[in-house]
Amino acid sequence: MNNSGLDTMQMEQKDTTEKPKPIEKVSIIISKGSLEAVYPGLIMANGARMEGIEATLFFTFFGLESIIDKKMDKLKVATVGNPAMHIPTMLGGLPGMSAFATKKMKGEIEKLDIPPIREFMEMIHDTGAEIYACKATVEMFHLDEDDFCDQVDGIISVGEFYEKSAGAEIIFT
């Protein structure tokens, strides 16, 4: 008797926990500065906003290149050290290879109506997403606020990043 009572209780409990809660907030960390490394994070952030999910972007280490005003238009595809690119490493290192791959990828990206980095950053910021630069990296690279594009909401520490990420899923790219 006792056992069956317990069983039904467990079943009832299971029923109430069955449906997973939808994601309400994401914090996306972008840590690399090559074109193919920056886009995924931006697409994820924009996609989150399109679904009504709150989004925060945090740029750290070489990811900062994509929000530095003078550099963000010049990001390149890395042609060395990426086996999925199917370019032998020795060839990938030849002059012009990265520029060539970058041009190809930018063309394909444009075909999908995905904007260039600068325009994408403006668009994402306009959706209400927040954009932050990592304080430690800013200091390491001797940068200051004026070096960044207008969409950057501030330079924050890791601790502040976690505070702002309360209740969020954190995605590292």
């Binding site: 924009n46 996609g47 109506d113 668009m123 306009d126 959706t127």
Partner: protein
């Protein structure tokens, strides 16, 4: 009460979008807008809705948000104000179109 009857007779797909495009009317759009918490539709909402419907008719899919904002004259910021909490899906739903397939 009258508005309630409009959507009651209509079939929806599994995503909550209209199952049959021809069921759509301006009255239905307003009713769906209330259900989606978009509220009373104004001129700017209608710019978006009409653009989406025109694009869908011509291309068979809803446009990207970039295309929508560039060609309709409604900015990204405004779009998110008009259709808060998920503009792509909500605008498509109100416009009587299926859930957008694209990622952008």
């Amino acid at each position: 009460m009258e508005t309630k009857q409009l959507t009651e007779a209509i079939e929806f797909d599994k995503d909550g979008h209209l199952a049959n495009l021809e069921d759509w009317s301006e009255g239905i759009a307003q009713e769906l807008a209330y259900l989606e918490e978009v509220g009373e539709l104004n001129d700017r909402h209608w710019v978006v809705i009409n653009f989406l419907r025109k694009e869908f008719e011509e291309k068979g899919d809803t446009p990207t948000i970039r295309k929508l904002t560039k060609q309709s004259g409604v900015s990204t910021k405004e779009l998110y104000q008009l259709f808060p909490k998920g503009p792509a899906k909500k605008a498509a739903k109100v416009a009587g179109l299926p859930k957008p397939k694209g990622c952008i």
